[in-house]
Symmetry: C2
Subunit: 491 residues, 2 copies
């Protein structure tokens, strides 16, 4: 069944005075109007009216799901019926990973390149016969392409676990009761995500060693984690605009996004998926829009905005308003709105937290290993109960106000955790205009590994890119070129 859930939200002209506020007959100045709020209220009303029979894929889920337009089809699904035990003590009793491939696997199975995606990307890195829409890395992959030549390489891209574009995530049914996991979904680490991918690569495809593992942003965390967890299973590693451990500044920005989204009343603590009993639940589209606007501020750079928008307003002759008014505001508003119905809110929350938690430290690995073993034992002895993960015995007000380890100790821990990666052929790319994963975080990766000739470090300065963290999506010349040369290079 095909139906159009993509609601027209453009071209809202001025509406009447907001009905719920008191209309005052006298005031010293005109009352301000809020077309941006009118628009959001109108969208909420439209979402409530949508036909409840309309779903992304009526066969896989009984629920009235949001439409993730760009990736309705064209991917394959790897199904694993073996449980995946997780770094933070949870379990996925079974799981699915959506994936796409381009090019052909050679007989020796030695030409596979695995692309790890950023937070919100699907497996659709490149257009294909099955899905002709342009992929998110369209210009970086293809026959004869200078980065990923599909005449040579067998390119694989997956939707990460926790996502909503075909892989198991919070919107997927929990096998325990066949209702969406929602916030009963277990927290994932980046290492958990790549453990799922590794099953796809080895069990389904029979590939013993990847030629390369490539990722940008959260994908660049994954490529490092892949080399850390499976050092013998990958030849070359590329990490772009990523880090060895998250930084409190980035955590702070993602924290803000999560809290804003969770404050949307429609989020309903994650249980916003319409059910037979409550068919009119709506997505937390306002919270998603706002979270994406904050994220966009961290993805792009000030100098780019200075030259594109400056401080010009839509109309200098009008009194300023609190709804979007400066050009930069209309840009952010548009970015937020575009995203608000295209990605699952819970996937966003979980993967955002997964990024915060990324840490290649030895102590982190040791704890994770122990917890995975505990999760396995609990699962195998069927000792699963519904005791919630409460914060009951610690007060909510922080009892621990400052860090307990020194900066130096934490750095040594990180260096130890990265031991398995040492000696691997590694390309590290940083972008100086990136404020979210600043260039010193990529320098740190190189420093921690000790800069042998097997490590190549590229840093794009402001004259090469002003696109900030988003550079990897846009810069075919410098990002694509550097990766292409690295892949072709023989040590």
């Amino acid at each position: 069944m095909k139906c159009n859930l993509r609601i027209r939200t453009t071209q809202v002209f001025c509406r009447g005075f907001h009905q719920s506020s008191v209309i005052r007959s006298r005031s010293s100045n005109p009352a301000m109007q809020f077309p941006c709020l009118d628009k959001m209220e109108e969208l909420s009303a439209q979402l409530k009216k949508r036909p409840s029979s309309c779903s992304l894929d009526a066969t896989s889920s009984p629920h009235n799901e949001p439409v993730y337009e760009r990736v309705r089809s064209g991917f394959k699904v790897f199904q694993s019926d073996k449980p995946l035990f997780l770094d933070y003590g949870g379990v996925l009793p079974k799981f699915e990973i959506a994936y796409e491939t381009w090019g052909s696997l050679n007989k020796a199975k030695s030409n596979a390149v695995l692309i790890h995606t950023g937070l919100s990307a699907s497996s659709h890195a490149k257009s294909s016969v099955d899905n002709p829409h342009p992929g998110w890395w369209e210009k970086f992959i293809g026959p004869g392409n200078s980065m990923l030549d599909t005449n040579k390489f067998f390119v694989i891209c997956t939707n990460t676990l926790g996502g909503c574009y075909g892989s198991t995530g919070p919107s997927s049914p929990d096998p325990a009761d066949n209702s969406p996991y929602a916030t009963r979904f277990p927290m994932l680490s980046v290492q958990d995500i790549i453990r799922g991918q590794e099953r796809l690569v080895t069990e389904l495809m029979g590939i013993q060693k990847l030629y390369a593992s490539i990722g940008c942003s959260m994908g660049g965390m994954q490529s490092l984690a892949y080399a850390q967890q499976f050092p013998e299973s990958v030849e070359k590693v590329v990490t772009v605009s990523a880090c060895a451990r998250s930084h409190p500044s980035s955590i702070a920005m993602r924290h803000a996004q999560r809290q804003v989204l969770m404050a949307d009343q429609h989020w309903s603590r994650g249980f916003y998926y319409p059910t037979a009993a409550e068919p009119n639940k709506i997505l937390p589209h306002v919270g998603m829009k706002l979270a994406r606007e904050i994220a966009t501020v961290t993805y792009r750079s000030g100098p780019e905005w200075e030259s594109r928008f400056g401080t010009e307003r839509l109309n200098d002759e009008r009194p300023p308003v609190l709804c979007p008014d400066f050009l930069i505001e209309t840009y952010l508003d548009h970015q937020g709105e575009k995203f608000s119905l295209e990605y699952d809110a819970n996937s966003f929350l979980y993967l955002s937290k997964t990024m915060d938690l990324f840490d290649l430290s030895k102590s982190h690995q040791d704890r994770s290993k122990r917890r995975r073993a505990e999760a396995r034992q609990q699962y195998e002895t069927q000792d699963i109960n519904d005791e919630p993960t409460r914060l009951c015995d610690v007060p909510y007000e922080p009892i621990k106000k400052n860090r307990t380890t020194t900066v130096e100790e934490a750095r040594e821990d990180l260096r130890n955790g990265m031991d398995p990666i040492k000696g691997k052929e590694l390309l590290v790319i940083g972008v100086k205009s990136d404020g979210l994963f600043p260039y010193w975080q990529q320098r740190e990766i190189v420093d921690l590994l000790g800069s042998g000739r097997e490590i190549k470090h590229v840093e794009l300065d402001e004259s090469q890119s002003l696109f900030g963290h988003d550079t990897f999506l846009l810069d075919v010349e410098h990002i694509g070129g550097s990766i292409g040369r690295f892949l072709r290079e023989k040590l």
Copy 2:
């Protein structure tokens, strides 16, 4: 009447499972708990129950206002019954400015120093007999103090117009109907704010020339605007962590804060003040908390957080949660919560926008002058109607997507607008760890004015301060010291 509206919000231990979500008897993993949301819901419930007779100042307002604890008393009020015509075409038919002073005005009236505040500060820069609570610049002012010696200087500090600590702002009654202005308040420019201050200084105090005009952040915009609008009325000008024109990156961050606050259902398009008809309206405390959390990210710096919090979590042994979990998150949460009941949401929105609009350009001044004249004419001919400031004839979707002037043209416009400041004794201070008003914005002020010997430029590097934009609140040695030396200096 004294009453305790300061609601205890600490020490919320675990609550029962959220009632509105379906309790599921079976799930593969435990459901996540949300103590941070429980706490906000509890606070909303408590706010609804507060006694409606309880108000900040029952004589000045019939409404059940929030308690702005720190500044209940101890300030004086300047009342102007002459209308103030505003840069964006609005009018304040009359207005009040709350102010405090320290030290004594000499006979020649030549020792007055006016301090302009940042967005959310009150007039209470320093403790006094009337209000013994420490002021926001407590350590920078006092008898024998190395920055502002009150044995020598007569120090004045005001609450800015648009604020909520005693000066006329959105929570004040509109004389047209004696109900709070709310979002019928007219938009203010920084220049409007200092025009109000100038009346206090000249009309009430009879001071013809200030010895100095000093400000940080939005206050640093004001001190520049004072010199621009009244160059003959000020001897020395100090601007700290400010700029000559806002930057799209800062606008973007403030935009995010505003949109988040406006999305709080309790904000009610600004009409959240309890009325006789609706005594149980509550403040948009969740939106304020979230906005302040985002703001805090822009006020402090990453390196400071790295050394204070690193990436440590409250408890490594617990599964991660979406409520505050990392130390940095509990810090942000606490900062947001502290602020959420202490400042008026509409004041925050208006003054945040005022900062965005700050621009010393010539074209901006010319437009403003014309609009003020139009406002005066309209007021004097009583041609005031209630026509709202709609965006009716332009579609909401941006029709103008990119800037229409070049970077160079805009810079020349700014240089021309700053002409009146040229030749003034000026101290410009920038802080390298400040991401909100980056150091190049202070360099730009100096460059635009042409660096004569009357201009002194101080730049604090990371070894001197890691406190980012907040440095001016904390750094007695470098900020206080530099300002003190500048004030004592004879050219």
